[in-house]
């Protein structure tokens, strides 16, 4: 497979530039602070009138608008990874609070109010953003991947395969998510997944992730269809998915599924482990997750340089695979492999060549990992233009 990335856009805490982040972009949010979360990584985006009270929809719309030109007559597909951010503060206020009486939840009253007062809540329609944006593009195919934190990476891989097969001529692929609201924070607080201090992947003191939000979109085309005006930012040359088949909330402790996805990506790209110059890790900063990923990377790819962006832009959940791949595209022209913002003291127990600081080196092939609850894993390989 050799699919050209002819345009890319990103919206995340570090801004809109397609360059790896170099510092932490955390800010303070009152709702998060009240729940004991010291920082969130918020993106800047104007609300899109098509998606009221839905930051993830606005983020996707803004990212797509930047790159949405389509060659005349091309068959277009839109492949979007989305996430759990379906219950916004406004919906919470409207749907739930008024229906709690004396500590009990009146479900019938809520259903009655929904039927009479309001349209269907968005949480029943995760595909709505894909449909609205797909219709604007004139897309003949729309797919909404909902694979937890692997969703965007899986969408990009499915889009690349669809272009390769000839299902579509141009694919817009990526992901969007925002859980920067009370219920979003809460979801991870009750699981104990968020850091009570700050995001620091691979650190000896790591204690959870910094939560972020964002969106990123790529435009994918076949090499044979490129015009002289097209500028190639990178080539998607392979990808692989797997399932841990172990536990829906915990990764396999030795990173079995992660390793399997990376091996499949290598095979798909017809590459050897030594061909990979840099790994953009999933690297959330959770004690178990980082350890499992480092084991897997070392087992499959040896001492390849590894770093994570999540200490800087936060974990953008379902968008992570797209946001981080888009930021990786800036590595090719820079001649610099990025470090790991937030990392202070590398955990000596981790068996991987983790980059704390940026190093000057060329990258020809980059592998990007995304792993999700449910045990879904996805690895993508992108080649320099």
């Amino acid at each position: 497979m050799r699919i050209a990335i002819t345009a890319a856009s990103v919206r995340c805490a570090s801004g809109r530039e397609l360059v790896p982040p170099t510092r932490c972009w955390a800010s303070v949010d009152d709702d998060a602070l009240a729940l004991g979360i010291p920082g969130v990584a918020r993106a800047t985006v104007e609300g899109d009138p098509r998606f009221p009270d839905d930051r993830k929809g606005s983020l996707a719309a803004a990212a797509l608008a930047e790159i949405a030109s389509v060659p005349a007559g091309a068959r277009v597909g839109l492949y979007l990874g989305t996430g759990l951010s379906s219950l916004t503060p406004a919906e919470l206020a409207i749907d739930l609070y008024p229906h709690i009486v004396d500590g009990a939840f009146d479900r019938l009253a809520m259903a009655r109010d929904l039927a009479t007062d309001r349209p269907s809540p968005r949480r029943h329609q995760p595909e709505r953003v894909t449909q609205v944006l797909g219709a604007a593009l004139g897309a003949v195919v729309t797919e909404t991947s909902f694979s937890a934190c692997a969703a965007a990476a899986q969408s990009i891989l499915q889009a690349a395969r669809a272009v390769h097969r000839g299902d579509v001529d141009v694919a817009f692929a990526g992901g969007h998510d925002s859980m920067l609201h009370a219920i979003g924070y809460l979801s991870f607080v009750v699981l104990g997944a968020l850091s009570p201090t700050r995001g620091r992947p691979f650190d000896q003191q790591r204690d959870g992730f910094l939560i972020g939000e964002g969106a990123a979109m790529l435009r994918l085309q076949r090499e044979a269809d490129l015009s002289s005006d097209d500028r190639v930012l990178g080539w998607i040359v392979g990808g692989g998915t797997s399932v841990d088949a172990y536990n829906v909330t915990h990764p396999h402790p030795e990173g079995y599924g992660a390793a399997l996805a990376m091996r499949r990506a290598l095979r798909d790209a017809d590459l050897q482990p030594g061909d990979i110059d840099y790994v953009n890790a999933h690297g959330t900063g959770t004690p178990v997750g980082d350890q499992a990923e480092c084991l897997a990377v070392h087992r499959v790819l040896g001492d390849v340089p590894v770093s994570s962006f999540k200490g800087a832009v936060g974990h953008t959940i379902a968008a992570a695979g797209a946001v981080e791949l888009a930021l990786c595209l800036g590595i090719f022209p820079s001649g610099v492999l990025p470090g790991t913002p937030g990392l202070v003291t590398l955990d000596p127990e981790l068996r991987a060549h983790v980059l704390k600081d940026p190093v000057r080196a060329e990258a020809r092939h980059i592998l990007s990992n995304s792993f999700g609850f449910g045990g879904q894993n996805c690895a993508l390989i992108v080649k320099a233009p």
Partner: protein, 257 residues
């Protein structure tokens, strides 16, 4: 060169019944007699599964139960492709915490959070059918989970066909599950629940052949009302079991021997 794809198993849970009993007239409602434990859903996981997830895991179990030889295929070559709807964590699980908070985020943090079941988020994961069923049957291969309303089940079927044809897996289980009962006021019409899965393997010329085009909602049976992500798989399997051929949701199957 793409490989031929053949079907070796199927399951059906719909308001008309389970298995071949599900071939009766389509009507809205619940799956009669559905017992997740009897359908092989692990008792220890029931509390963290919504009804739709229970139906989905049961659907995978039933499809594999009638598929000969699947267990001989290596786990790394077994794929699972699912259409699902978001399973918003049960709102009732939040009620005590919200009541304790009285709308004050600070009180919510101090007094409310500890009243929420820790696995509230986990119960709400939309890819729980995939997560639980893959762990139960050691399905470690290529995979995907789509939440696209009725289209989700069609995408799952089509992607499974591609995965076999392109040699990424040697076994693909594909289908969808949903449970929309109780959502009538939201959906604006009658609703149903159900699940259906098919089991695909690489075949030889002359076998029953399955091919995939662009996923669509074509062929969905309106008689069930809203069946969500299960709509296309249920219609596909009912068509297949009835006529040994199906052309639903952009996925075509024909018995050619």
């Amino acid at each position: 060169m793409p490989r031929h794809v053949r079907i070796i198993g199927a399951s059906l849970f719909c308001p008309a019944g389970i298995g071949i009993f599900g071939l009766g007239p389509a009507s809205p409602g619940a799956v009669p007699g559905f017992d997740p434990i009897a359908c092989g859903v692990p008792r220890k996981h029931l509390k963290t599964m919504t009804r739709a997830v229970q139906l989905g895991v049961a659907g995978v179990n039933a499809a594999l139960a009638v598929a000969p030889g699947w267990a001989e295929i290596r786990p790394e070559r077994r794929g699972l492709f699912v259409g699902a709807s978001p399973q918003a964590g049960d709102a009732e699980d939040l009620a005590a915490a919200l009541a304790a908070a009285g709308g004050d985020p600070g009180r919510f943090a101090r007094e409310g959070v500890s009243l929420i079941p820790p696995l509230w988020l986990v119960k709400g994961l939309s890819n729980n059918v995939l997560g639980y069923a893959s762990a139960q049957h050691d399905l470690r291969g290529d995979n995907g989970n789509w939440c696209d309303g009725q289209l989700g089940g069609a995408i799952a079927l089509a992607q499974a066909v591609h995965a076999i044809a392109e040699g990424r897996v040697d076994l693909a289980i594909a289908g969808g599950a949903d449970a929309l009962l109780g959502a009538e006021s939201v959906v604006g019409g009658p609703c149903a629940e159900g699940a259906a899965f098919i089991v695909l393997v690489a075949g030889e010329r002359g076998d029953a052949v399955v091919t995939a085009g662009i996923p669509s909602e074509d062929g969905v049976e309106e008689g069930f009302g809203a069946l969500g992500a299960a709509a296309v798989p249920v219609a596909w399997v009912r068509s297949w079991l009835t006529d040994r051929r199906a052309d639903v949701g952009g996925v075509r199957g024909a018995w050619s021997s």
